[in-house]
């Protein structure tokens, strides 16, 4: 059945391209005519940001190595790093009552079902249907989507469910006395096996205890800018645990750098 869908989708793909073309074209046109000074300003800002990021990254490498060593001491397994592929969202609307977007990379690039999808700020969603030339990505705010999360501050685990609004996630399964407050960062807990552990998902922005009901009403805002994203990262996370012995550390570092 998936094969049929793939073949049919290849035939209708030009329609999707045709629809999204004017918007992409207008964006490109805007890029072309953007002023010199604006470009220069952006360049300066990006350089500054790159500097800060690379400094953070220096520390990150040291921390990662330390983490690997510590885990080895605990005789724990360590997860391999992730490979990513950049995909672009096509400007098409599927149906208004679902949050599913079409991206321009498909199973031709090895994309599989349930692969996690990120942007620069956090989790965006997961691959719903890989087609041949494109694939459908379900956003975390889709009413049918649920993602296992964990409060970064204290490790409290729960599930965040899409609300059908692009700026809202529901956390319906926490009791009224749960230790959670507005401003808490929710990260993936890695429990479902779909999403790798530790990526930012959302920030809690609303907590109301409901004394007459078993659960509190909690809402969170996704970290990823779901209404504005153009480019996504599709992630291959190798979830097979690697038994760690010290000599292997170098190899792991090498494979981390792939793509």
């Amino acid at each position: 059945m998936n094969k049929t869908r793939s073949i049919l989708s290849t035939i209708v793909y030009p329609v999707q391209l045709l629809v999204s073309w004017p918007i992409e074209f207008s964006e490109q046109a805007y890029d072309t005519v953007v002023s010199y000074s604006a470009l220069k300003k952006e360049n300066r800002r990006l350089k500054k940001k790159q500097l800060i990021d690379s400094i953070k990254l220096l520390k990150f490498e040291a921390l990662e190595n330390e983490n690997i060593r510590l885990r080895a001491l605990l005789e724990n397994s360590f997860k391999l790093g992730e490979q990513v592929l950049v995909a672009e969202i096509l400007s098409v609307n599927l149906v208004p009552y679902e949050h599913v977007v079409v991206v321009n990379k498909g199973s031709r690039f090895g994309i599989k079902e349930k692969q996690p999808v990120l942007d620069a700020n956090g989790i965006v969603g997961q691959v719903l249907r890989p087609l041949l030339l494109s694939s459908e990505v379900m956003l975390i705010t889709d009413p049918n989507h649920a993602i296992p999360v964990q409060v970064n501050r204290n490790g409290l685990r729960t599930i965040a469910i899409g609300s059908g609004q692009l700026d809202r996630l529901k956390l319906p399964f926490l009791p009224n006395n749960a230790d959670i407050q507005p401003g808490d960062l929710l990260v993936t807990s890695g429990l479902g096996g779909t999403f790798p552990q530790g990526y930012p998902v959302a920030v809690v922005d609303h907590f109301t205890a409901q004394p007459n009901k078993p659960f509190a009403s909690i809402f969170a805002t996704p970290k990823a800018k779901l209404d504005r994203i153009r480019e996504l990262l599709i992630v291959w996370s190798d979830s097979t645990p690697v038994p760690l012995v010290f000599p292997e550390i170098d190899e792991i570092d090498d494979s981390n750098e792939g793509e």
């Binding site: 869908r5 209708v12 045709l18 629809v19 609307n93 599927l94 208004p96 009413p143 059908g164």
Partner: protein, 157 residues
């Protein structure tokens, strides 16, 4: 009084494009099923050209295009086409306003089928706005009718 084959193809592709047009969310919830409107027109005006089977195939394409369960729109389009073919002699004689009434019921029936099938396979709670496309589709029918009529007649030359 028959359209060209390219007329069918182009209008249907254009309607498909309208179906997935990236509109702002506020307008998008009311975006009607343009392919179905085009299908209703062609089945009414030239019943011997498009049939139930072609409608079914077209439905499969729309399913893939909009990421629905494969066969959902195929079923809907086939049924509506059948009804259209059944009524085409009457429909053709009606003034546009009266046609709109029929189109309203066709669209309502199609949306109801989609509603039931979607409810079976997912737990989305449909807002009342789910039914807006039916209304908008009825309102744009005179437009679709005159546009397609113009295409059909000018295509003959």
């Amino acid at each position: 009084m028959k359209g060209n084959n390219s007329d069918y193809f182009l209008t249907v592709v254009f309607a498909m494009g309208l179906n997935i047009l990236p509109l702002p969310a506020a307008i998008n919830i009311a975006n009607p099923d343009w392919v179905l409107l085009v299908l209703i027109y062609w089945n009414m005006a030239t019943p011997e050209k498009l049939g139930v089977f072609n409608a079914w195939i077209l439905g499969l394409f729309v399913d893939v295009l909009t990421g629905r369960l494969l066969g959902l729109h195929a079923l809907v389009y086939a049924l509506i086409s059948y009804a259209c073919l059944k009524f085409h002699k009457r429909l053709r004689q009606y003034p546009v306003a009266q046609q709109s009434l029929y189109v309203f019921f066709f669209l309502l029936f199609s949306q109801m089928l989609i509603f039931w099938i979607e409810r079976i396979q997912s737990n989305i709670e449909m807002a009342l706005s789910f039914w807006l496309p039916v209304l908008v589709g009825t309102l744009v029918w005179p437009l679709v009718y005159s546009a397609l009529r113009f295409i059909r007649l000018s295509g003959r030359a």
